[in-house]
């Protein structure tokens, strides 16, 4: 597979029981602490190339640009650990450890509000928009939920994917209501004549590394096939939103269904197997072989209803088992909802997910040492490395993904339109 610049954005929610009476908002305090720390680089950027900021009541982390489906998971986990560290610092500094500060990596709160967890892919501008995306990508995005869904309890029902449950259009410009399987936002943060930034908002916040890897492997592979116009025979779906709404509430794979334009009813597993066959010739290196094999295996496990096996890498299944285990013998209408939320806590001592990871019930694709290194180091094959180098060299007056204003004696603007570039084409004039 060729490299494809990609990243994720996560809106984390912080909660502290005494938040109001203590007079602070943990989101903004966490950001203040981050700016005072040695992880801060310049502006809203941190030393690993990610951007961290406050967004409508959330602590948002946008990962640095990565070029593949496994690095993106590592840098996403690094961002999660940065917030976990800040959360612990706040507990010690402001409460003497007496009050818990919780941080959640999920998409909904019990009152029905939702918040985002977005993927971004840098795609060739030559792919016709939106027609090719509706034809080739919508069948993938609307059926991948069977293995990319995080699981949640919404309106009293267990759903495979909260963000799919809340989607109501095939295509839409909205991100907070009336959202679409395809989102039209296009801020490339790069040369817009060459690249489009595909902003995928129909995905969920995932704790499970394997599930996140699979999501990025399959989606970036499909996008690569689209760039080559190699999906002309893709199954045409009659009503993808209707089928998404049906499948998202069904845990039994035998009852999943997708209707094609000619009236044939198939399973989302069949649609995924169409893509699987198309992607196979692209598979080259060890990581790609591993991800491809996992994709094939997950589809088989789901089809055969080997749910305990599939739960190792399918989060909606693992969350379901975690809720059952945590609430056994406990009564009350809220117990399942509580367990559901507690699964997504990023604090390892309270998170039901991390408890299961420690028990070896879920598969990892990386390790703590790799994630630890990614907290302070940008990916070495993207523009994130160059931004870091410039920040280490100059005083920075302004910084964004693709532009910096540096002070090297005079104010100088440096554009970074190529997200793959690790060096400036021309030596910046006075750097020495």
């Amino acid at each position: 597979m060729k490299k494809m610049v990609q990243g994720t954005e996560h809106e984390y929610t912080l909660y502290c029981r005494k938040m109001g009476s203590m007079g602070f908002d943990p989101h903004t305090v966490a950001l203040d602490l981050l700016r005072e720390s040695d992880l801060h680089l310049a502006g809203e950027f941190i030393t690993n190339g990610s951007r961290v900021y406050y967004d409508v009541g959330h602590f948002e982390v946008s990962t640095a640009e990565t070029t593949n489906f496994h690095d993106v998971v590592v840098w996403e986990k690094a961002g999660e650990k940065v917030l976990d560290w800040l959360r612990r610092v706040m507990e010690d500094k402001y409460t003497d450890g007496a009050t818990k500060i919780h941080a959640f990596k999920n998409n909904t709160s019990p009152d029905g509000t939702s918040y985002g967890s977005h993927e971004n892919y840098c795609v060739s501008r030559d792919v016709p928009w939106p027609d090719r995306f509706i034809r080739d990508l919508v069948p993938h995005l609307s059926t991948r939920i069977i293995y990319t869904g995080a699981g949640d309890i919404l309106r009293g029902k267990y759903v495979l994917s909260p963000m799919a449950f809340l989607t109501s259009r095939v295509i839409s410009a909205e991100t907070m209501h009336d959202t679409g399987i395809l989102n039209t936002r296009d801020e490339p943060h790069a040369d817009g004549h060459i690249w489009r930034r595909l902003h995928v908002i129909v995905g969920d916040a995932l704790m499970n590394e394997s599930a996140a890897m699979l999501r990025h492997f399959t989606t970036s592979a499909v996008l690569q096939l689209m760039e080559a116009d190699a999906l002309q025979d893709v199954p045409r779906l009659k009503d993808p939103v209707r089928d998404l709404w049906h499948n998202v509430e069904v845990r039994n794979p035998d009852e999943w269904r997708v209707e094609l334009e000619d009236g044939t009813v198939v399973s989302p597993i069949d649609i995924q197997r169409y893509y699987l066959a198309k992607v196979e010739p692209l598979v080259e290196d060890a990581w790609e072989k591993r991800a491809f094999k996992l994709w094939e295996q997950v589809l088989e496990e789901l089809e055969d209803k080997r749910s305990k096996d599939a739960a190792r890498h399918v989060e909606w299944l693992d969350r379901w088992f975690a809720i059952q285990a945590a609430t056994e013998g406990k009564d009350g209408p809220d117990t399942e909802m509580m367990a559901c939320k507690q699964y997504s806590e990023i604090g390892t001592e309270r998170s039901l997910f991390y408890k299961r990871q420690r028990e070896g019930l879920v598969d990892r694709i990386t390790d703590d040492e790799t994630v630890k290194a990614a907290i302070t180091t940008p990916p070495d094959d993207t523009r994130a490395r160059l931004r870091r180098e410039l920040c280490d060299t100059f005083n920075i007056e302004m910084i964004d993904w693709s532009v910096l204003v540096v002070n090297d004696g005079s104010r100088r603007r440096i554009d970074l339109p190529d997200p793959y570039a690790t060096k400036l084409e021309a030596t910046y004039a006075t750097a020495g």
Binding site: Y15, S109, L352
Partner: protein, 58 residues
């Protein structure tokens, strides 16, 4: 005439940071002190502030 002196590039001034990242706070897999998994009602009922839960038609 005085000779014009070319200004040297201004290197980044290293700022004193008050807080140092402590990896040990978050990477202690063998030492996680698990809290009792009694479910915490308050934290489960946290209110987030964004969106309206979409607009999914019934």
């Amino acid at each position: 005439m005085p000779q014009q002196v070319e200004e040297k590039p201004r290197k980044r001034k290293k700022q004193e940071k008050k807080l140092e990242f402590e990896a040990g706070k978050v990477f202690t897999p063998g030492e996680v002190k698990e809290e009792d998994f009694e479910l915490d009602l308050e934290s489960a009922h946290f209110r987030a502030q964004k969106g309206e839960g979409g607009d999914r038609r019934a």
